[in-house]
């Protein structure tokens, strides 16, 4: 297991400890998350789900080092997340594809390699390979405006993998595409991920999506966000598209829905 260097004495991947974060001015601040503990081990694919406004995105942005916690600590591989960000170990996929309109597909995927060049990167696959794996081999030199929404999101995924980050943080990346595209996107993501199984934290509001993708589904409670339940998904990998309709998936999905219902009722 020659998995990515760093601190690999333990399986410690992403660790959020007693994290609190509020937004807005003092006095009228809104608590987004409070007292949140979350651990995601190396090589695990974890989906974060919860009622809207529960702070899912905040958790992800804390993990990406895009916002700073008011209290508690956010660590990646035993070091502070700010340091991990400086070392370019974080692959962030925002909700919108966030592509550069003036660059070709290929040059968009190369963007992470062009900035912060002091950080050592260890890409396992070339941008061309990744784009090919995501079915974009024929549009390398097209511009984003010439692509469909689903294709743009594939480019964003290729871009996140392109520099071989040790962790992938995805913020509802498939929320803007239609259901059919969405289904094939998750299996393409799984196929690309399967090759070197990095730590993934994936925010979604689709129960089926969470179950099909994850090793573990973490349910957050609303206002302030806290971990309400952790549901392991013991399905074999690699997972195929046929799995979507299987009874195993639906059994776990039922469990997740139950946890979600409990959380929503609790907050009323």
């Amino acid at each position: 297991m020659a998995r990515d260097a760093g601190v690999s004495q333990s399986d410690e991947g992403l660790v959020l400890e007693r994290v609190a974060k509020s937004f807005g001015r003092a006095g009228r601040a809104r608590q987004a998350v409070s007292d949140l503990d979350l651990r995601v081990d190396h090589g695990r694919f974890v989906c974060l789900i919860g009622p809207s406004g529960c702070g899912k995105s905040t958790v992800l942005r804390l993990a990406a080092g895009l916002v700073k916690a008011d209290r508690g600590s956010v660590q990646l591989f035993g070091e502070d997340v700010a340091l991990a960000r400086r070392e370019k170990r974080i692959g962030y996929v925002p909700q919108s594809p966030a592509l550069l309109a003036w660059r070709s597909v290929l040059d968009n995927v190369r963007f992470p390699l062009e900035v912060n060049r002091n950080a050592p990167v260890s890409p396992t696959r070339s941008p061309e390979e990744l784009l090919g794996a995501l079915g974009l081999g024929d549009v390398l030199h097209r511009h984003p405006a010439e692509l469909s929404g689903g294709m743009q999101q594939r480019v964003a995924i290729a871009r996140a993998f392109a520099f071989g980050p040790s962790v992938l943080l995805m913020d509802e990346p498939f929320s803007a595409v239609d259901e059919m595209t969405r289904e094939s996107l998750r299996h393409e993501l799984l196929a690309v991920w399967q090759a070197d199984q990095r730590l993934v934290l994936f925010v979604t509001h689709s129960v089926i999506e969470a179950v099909v993708l994850a090793d573990e589904v973490v349910v957050l409670s609303a206002r302030p966000g806290r971990v309400a339940a952790r549901i392991p998904v013991e399905l074999t990998r690699p997972r195929t598209a046929e799995l979507e309709d299987s009874s195993e998936v639906h059994a776990v999905a039922r469990e997740v829905r139950g946890a979600l219902r409990a959380v929503t009722e609790g907050s009323r």
């Binding site: 895009l66 370019k88 974080i90 962030y92 925002p94 909700q95 966030a98 550069l100 900035v115 912060n116």
Partner: protein
């Protein structure tokens, strides 16, 4: 056979072009006809279209020389204005304190009728073409500054977050994200500001006593001899200059910016 096919497409696109311009050509011809009719009956108020063209054709060298002088003032003034406005816009977008310090001054400069300081510029800078460069530059400066500033800030926040997640430096974000994303706004600014620079140059020629060249100077000297056809001929040349500059900018924008809109 491919040659024939090409010819057919070419002819087709020519025809399409002709159909597109047809209404404008008709309207222009109609306006010229009406003008000519009115002018024939009021020779002291309006020169006939034919007399204006006759004047142009009679001394093409004179008009070309003065058009060249005006164009030079526009080019120098606009280039200086664009360069200064762009540098200041970058400083403003990077450092909010620069914006707070300079924006009120820029706004004040914008609302000041520059014509009012043109005579002073002659006193200050002498009987050279410099005051004309300066007036052209001042007129073109502000709208370009605003456009450049808006352009530099037009970046999708998600893209900025992505760059932040990679710990991209400010210089990298400026060079690889902000500058390219401001490009369409720079073109929009230039399309507003180049015609403004023409206005500035002509106004300066009319009001400052610099060299005896430029279309504004030509108009002023024609005025003293009540030579209406010459004045209108000079105005016509100015109109052609304005249209030509706009067309050039549109062509440049098409080659540089169009691809990002998926119109390659």
């Amino acid at each position: 056979m491919s040659g024939t096919a090409l010819e057919v497409t070419e002819r087709r696109s020519l025809w399409r072009g002709a159909r597109r311009w047809f209404p404008a050509v008709i309207a222009l011809g109609f306006a010229a006809g009406v003008w000519q009719l009115i002018a024939i009956h009021n020779p002291l108020v309006l020169p006939t279209v034919s007399s204006v063209f006759a004047r142009l054709a009679g001394q093409p060298g004179l008009f070309a020389k003065d058009a060249g002088a005006t164009l030079e003032e526009v080019a120098v003034g606009a280039a200086a204005a664009f360069a200064a406005a762009f540098v200041i816009a970058v400083a403003m977008s990077e450092l909010p304190i620069v914006e707070r310090a300079m924006m009120p001054l820029a706004v004040a400069l914008n609302v000041t009728p520059v014509v009012a300081i043109a005579p002073a510029l002659t006193v200050m800078l002498g009987l050279s073409a410099t005051p004309r460069y300066v007036v052209a530059a001042i007129v073109a400066f502000f709208p370009f500054l605003i456009n450049a500033l808006v352009g530099l800030r037009s970046v999708d926040p998600a893209v900025l977050e992505l760059a932040q997640s990679l710990d991209a430096s400010r210089a990298e974000v400026l060079w690889r994200v902000r500058l390219p994303s401001s490009l369409p706004f720079l073109f929009a600014g230039a399309r507003i500001c180049l015609p403004l620079a023409v206005v500035g140059a002509v106004v300066a020629e009319l009001t400052t006593s610099g060299p005896s060249t430029g279309l504004g100077y030509l108009i002023e000297s024609a005025e003293s001899t009540y030579d209406l056809p010459e004045i209108f001929a000079a105005v016509l040349v100015l109109a052609v200059i304005g249209v030509a500059l706009t067309v050039l900018l549109i062509l440049a924008e098409r080659t540089l910016v169009a691809r990002r809109r998926g119109q390659a």
